[in-house]
Symmetry: C2
Subunit: 362 residues, 2 copies
């Protein structure tokens, strides 16, 4: 779909070019280092961002780098954070991110949750004073690689939706991601915002010069907004009306308020308030799937997913379940490189030039 807003941004003949995963990660880390991020934190952050691009979650990949750099330059991110566990039990921890980059904080939190779950059966780890940590699904993917079930929830970084029936934007896209291992098969991996569209998806549409479908954003009179440049003037719509709006609040309480992180009026719009720390909250629950059935559940999960994929009639191929397309893209992108739209290449190169990294995407 190419809308009216696209014309001015189209570069004739410009096809997305493909870059190796390692090339992009090194390039991204170079930009972050040039912005002052220590090498280890730059590598972790770049790796998490490229993981999102690898899996097709391009709204939470390299497209975020220019914003991260602007926030770093505005002084709102702590480049030398002391990421530490401030309260701990056998199966729980609260990680204070000390306002470090979100990927650094959440990678630490996810690792702690995974280690505790392996030792104790399950664990819940929350974060406080964190920042935007990228695609929700990348943290459950870490647990799934270790054969663990997990649920990740986060408070989004800009309020864009009122509570159901209201008209003040106090809720964000609050995503939930769930991974369930499926034995020798790829895991089931759900990664959804509780709004119909996420900020990332809207960014991707804006950069591609596309219009948004009706149903993503409405204005104060309930009329659809389809220009992504005007998305911020309207309200995002929750999935399933009051149901998704309620689930969104539940996530805000569990990932934000339980940890002392921002929710409601205390949420900082990371795009508009560049100089303000966000106090983002996240939560990750991890569990060994073999706690219940003595023989484990991997094979049974795999069988049930296959049953769903091959169900019904009159179709060309298997149905796509959550995570299937991301998994397929990951394999394809690892083999052939990740396609990066020309407008994003240009924007990233402009950032790299300005920061004098000495590295550009060809």
């Amino acid at each position: 779909m190419s809308g009216e807003g696209a014309v001015g941004r189209e570069v004739p003949g410009a096809e997305p070019r493909r870059y190796g995963h390692g090339v992009l990660a090194a390039f991204a880390a170079g930009i972050l280092r040039a912005a002052g991020v220590p090498p280890d934190h730059a590598s972790v952050t770049a790796e998490r961002l490229v993981e999102a691009d690898l899996r097709g979650r391009t709204g939470h990949g390299l497209i975020r780098i220019p914003l991260y750099v602007r926030r770093i330059e505005a002084g709102s991110v702590n480049l030398r954070p002391r990421v530490s566990v401030v309260s701990e039990g056998p199966t729980s921890a609260l990680v204070d991110g000390d306002n470090g980059l979100g990927q650094v904080v959440m990678t630490t939190a996810a690792s702690i949750a995974i280690d505790k779950a392996e030792a104790m059966g399950m664990a819940w780890v929350g974060t406080v004073n964190s920042n935007h940590a990228g695609a929700a699904g990348i943290y459950p993917a870490m647990a799934a690689r270790r054969g663990l079930v997990s649920i990740y929830m986060a408070v989004g970084n800009a309020n864009s939706m009122p509570p159901w029936g209201g008209n003040e934007k106090l809720l964000s896209t609050n995503p939930i991601a769930i991974a369930v291992p499926a034995g020798d098969d790829p895991p089931f991996q759900l990664d959804i915002a509780t709004t119909v569209a996420s900020h990332g998806t809207i960014k991707v549409a804006a950069q591609a010069g596309e219009q948004m479908p009706v149903g993503w954003v409405i204005d104060a009179d309930g009329e659809p907004i389809t220009d992504p440049g005007r998305a911020h003037d309207g309200f995002l719509m929750p999935i399933g009306g009051y149901k998704g709006a309620g689930l969104n609040i539940a996530i805000g309480l569990l990932a934000g308020v339980l940890n002392g992180a921002a929710f409601g009026r205390s949420v900082v719009d990371q795009n508009a308030e560049l100089a303000s720390p966000t106090n983002t909250g996240q939560a990750m629950f991890v569990m060994r799937p073999g706690l219940f059935r003595p023989d484990g559940s991997g094979a049974a999960v795999a069988e049930h997913l296959a049953e769903l994929r091959h169900s019904g009639s009159n179709r060309a191929g298997p149905l796509r379940l959550p995570g299937d397309e991301a998994g397929r893209l990951e394999v394809e992108n690892l083999a052939n490189g990740i396609a990066v739209p020309p407008a994003l290449v240009e924007e990233l190169n402009a950032t790299a030039r300005r920061l004098k990294t000495g590295q550009l995407l060809a």
Copy 2:
């Protein structure tokens, strides 16, 4: 909304009559005992059913009794189950319901989860060989009364939706309920099916002689079905399209497959297959909310909920958040009695007469 199907069922001048909570619970327990349920199990089941009615979840209240009796009479429910923990860790348990009534099995599972969470900080308890356990929200309500956070998930008892893009009904309404204590204020309590409408909601519409709104059920051609009597011919719609359909599968894996309970083709339609045990699965996660912030989170949750309720402008009163209406109804119904529609009174009395309980609703 009163649709065309209502005319034949309307009883002129018949207003719902109100009955005390204790009267209804005793009446329901009497029917169950007359059907052969031991007194303790009859009491627990009746209490859980009336709790649903008290909170306005009438689709999972007394309206279910005639079906339960039919299933008992068809021999598909074990009236003398040995409900037992078949695998256990410090923070986990699998409860084998031995095909007992779902409320009995889930009340046991919820109690174990609550006790373990109080002792260990958190716990996840699953069920296998359970049955329909009523309104999802009544189990988190048990945990909330003890000041605990909880998440309940269940595999529904009739497949009514295909996986996204498919046309074979392999998914049920798979509900999720979440409660978060709010200090001295009533807790936040979400209780949603992951379909736009639940079987219970459709039952209520059918008994009231009402039509269903467009968007609840579609036929194989994607056209809306609005006659609740024809709901079974169509597909329920998931909340948020592929997102809700994915969340529905996640719940099926976590509440069903992890426990060795039914999911997909192994789900038994409890209405159509009266003589078949359902092997229903449920899961309940319970956690102490004070694991993270040293001062606990109750007051902060209460403040944030108040902020949401009183947000925005131009409204007559506070916004209703998930659980607010249920909480209001509970207070009102405890004080004034529970309104039971005449058609349901008649159906319950017919069941009571047939079983010769000696008790009828006036």
